[in-house]
Symmetry: none
Subunit: 218 residues, 4 copies
DNA sequence: GGATAACCGAGACGGTACGTCTTGTCTTAAA
DNA sequence: TTTAAGACAAGACGTACCGTCTCGGTTATCC
């Protein structure tokens, strides 16, 4: 998903040949050239991710990212229009690993998915990053926009679970996919936002049972 | 509702006798005494609320609140330990008016409650304030703590709906109140955070139907 | 000298009878009555002097003096109109101990006096206090006024040395006392202000010899 | 005179090429680059000088200087480490115009110099600035250090007068230049600090006569 | 001998300034 | 022409004092 970072510029060839000689500068990275430097972009995203992991959203500033990446602030602002865009790209880099196993029932699949997402957010930087994006979206219109479109993209992971259920004939004829997806993501967001991402098996099972009961045919 | 605002001091008598003579100062507000000045506190909370309404969370700063309230910054920091505490008090002042009418069925009650909360957040400053608190909680531990305890307090409003249903004998014996409340509030939070608080009757009904089906006995 | 502190009030009897019962307050000092409390005044002056000794002029604030004295700020402002007045009173409390011995010659007396004043300023808080007063006088008109009148009072100590010389017949008939006193105090002030109060015997002797040669008859 | 202002950075080329286009900002000043902006430094020093002239040392604050200069506070703190450093640079900018005319005698030269310095301090901002520096030095160690080294630099102006006298053969063989310079500057400082800089010809002549008598050979 | 008036401590108040931090724009020099 | 570097204006941050004002409480004096 979204493996092309949000570029305000048309589309540059990002791959640049390796530098011939090392600079005396911070990391061996050669500075500049007429194309966008993939090395720089990577360094910036790495720095952003690390910083977020270490200092949290509170300590996350463009200033610090630039310093840590050995990049100039204008370089960041040239390619991302603010914190939010940067955060989104960082989130997009996270490899979403969900153990989307087919347990045979909607209820089982749902519980499994909750566990999976919960673990993903808990054990990778993704959770903190996503929290930050939501927070940023509350004051930054562009972040809100990004968050919304982002939502649509991630939707299909959960949707797949219900598609399987539909294929099995489990679902009621009046099943409303959109609302159901909102329920699932809302439930997860709330846990994320109050930092209650523990592996609450009982709660997840309870959730899954209830949702499954609500949407399956009798 | 949170009728004890987050006061760092034990409990002061906030009511002060009427000022004898007017100060030459800005407003007619009399300045100071060894007790907390209710007038100041009110002016600050009013200013905070207005500022949030006008400039949003992005433009909300202690500096501006102080200026607008005609108060000194130290006065704010004396009684609230940061943005979050101030926001919480502002939220606590909002009169939660929910048309909690008994429609006779759980489904009806649920749909009604969603409408009611949605309208409350949409048509009063409360929604924006609450969004701000959630955002603040992502970087400020104290705000997170406040948000959590806050959650517990508001919980009973939704719980009441389910208690009525239980009294009617609608509920399944395995009904899990906590999880269900999390579902409801999660659904509402998500709508609030992506600013999709429109009066989505169809969606609310769909949600209510599904939840009701999931928890009622067959 | 100046043993009546700069009182803005007409003239109260400062001595108060001993309190009958101790207050639960800080130091057992009883609080108030319709007369000025000598105990409070002393506590304030003590605190001011100690604070100046410990934290220097930079750390000297009415706030701290009040806290340390266990006094209310208004009590300080009631009896002194600012830092400067307080400092002056503190300086006035310093017992000026000058070994004003008659060496038989103007030159000897002068050198002796320089040593004496220098040691006084160096070994008691007086030097730091006086420095503070001069500093304060640069921004506070009232302090300037006080400094000027103060100057007049202290003048006679040095004048006495020259009076003795005149009595001995050492002085030239065109001797200008005022200018000479300005020279002596200026010399000492400059040393004080750049904190070069070491016991510079050679310098003092050189000064004394030169001044004496300048004013004695040939 | 102190032509190298107290720069914390080694030595930057302060001159920058002319701006191509005007900024929308306050004045027509173009904004910055990786070198120190001379325009900003000048604006800050101008503002500091004007502010000191208008509001005096009491009203002199970094805050006000920044506002008046249209500069950011961090810009000031980047190049000067506090009030004192700024004041010193402002003083260093004052063109010391002393009518150092050779009157033929030490006494005449001295009187002339006193008049000259007195007028300089009285009729230019220099006097007020210098008073402020002395005051600042009483609470700020760095200012004290600066004041001391400053002293050394300015010393030779007065020294020149005595050098001329020595060349004329006026001086006694035991003449002590250091002490004498301390006397002269002490006399002037004291007058400055109690704001008695009037053109006291009589006093100056008296001073000059006495000093001259003290150091000339018989 | 009870009322009164001035003192006292405490500390909240509106302000101003402090020195630091971050933001987003701009300029330079190197590559 | 992009880059790293970093100066810049702007302004918020949270803290320290300023000098004023109110509070209750205490106590010496005067009716």
């Amino acid at each position: 998903m979204n493996d092309a970072p949000a570029e305000p510029r048309p589309a540059l060839r990002d791959d640049r040949s390796e530098p011939g000689t090392a600079r005396p500068g911070a990391a061996g990275r050669t500075s500049a050239g007429p194309r966008r430097s993939k090395a720089s972009a990577d360094a910036i995203l790495d720095a952003a991710q690390d910083l977020l992991a270490e200092a949290g959203y509170a300590g996350f500033s463009i200033e610090q990212v630039a310093k840590r990446a050995g990049a100039g602030k204008p370089t960041i602002y040239r390619w991302w229009n603010g914190k939010a865009a940067l955060l989104l790209d960082v989130y997009a880099r996270q490899k979403l690993v969900l153990t989307d196993d087919d347990t045979g029932t909607l209820e089982g699949d749902l519980a499994s998915m909750l566990c999976s997402v919960s673990r993903f957010w808990r054990e990778t930087p993704a959770g903190d990053i996503f929290r930050s994006i939501i927070a940023e979206a509350q004051s930054e219109p562009s972040a809100l926009e990004a968050l919304r479109s982002f939502l649509g993209e991630r939707r299909h992971h959960v949707a797949a679970v219900f598609e399987r259920a539909r294929a099995r004939g489990e679902l009621d004829e009046g099943f409303d996919l959109d609302t159901t997806l909102d329920i699932v993501s809302g439930f997860l967001w709330a846990r994320l936002l109050v930092r209650r991402l523990d592996d609450d098996l009982e709660g997840f099972n309870s959730f899954a049972r209830q949702i499954a009961r609500g949407v399956t045919r009798r």
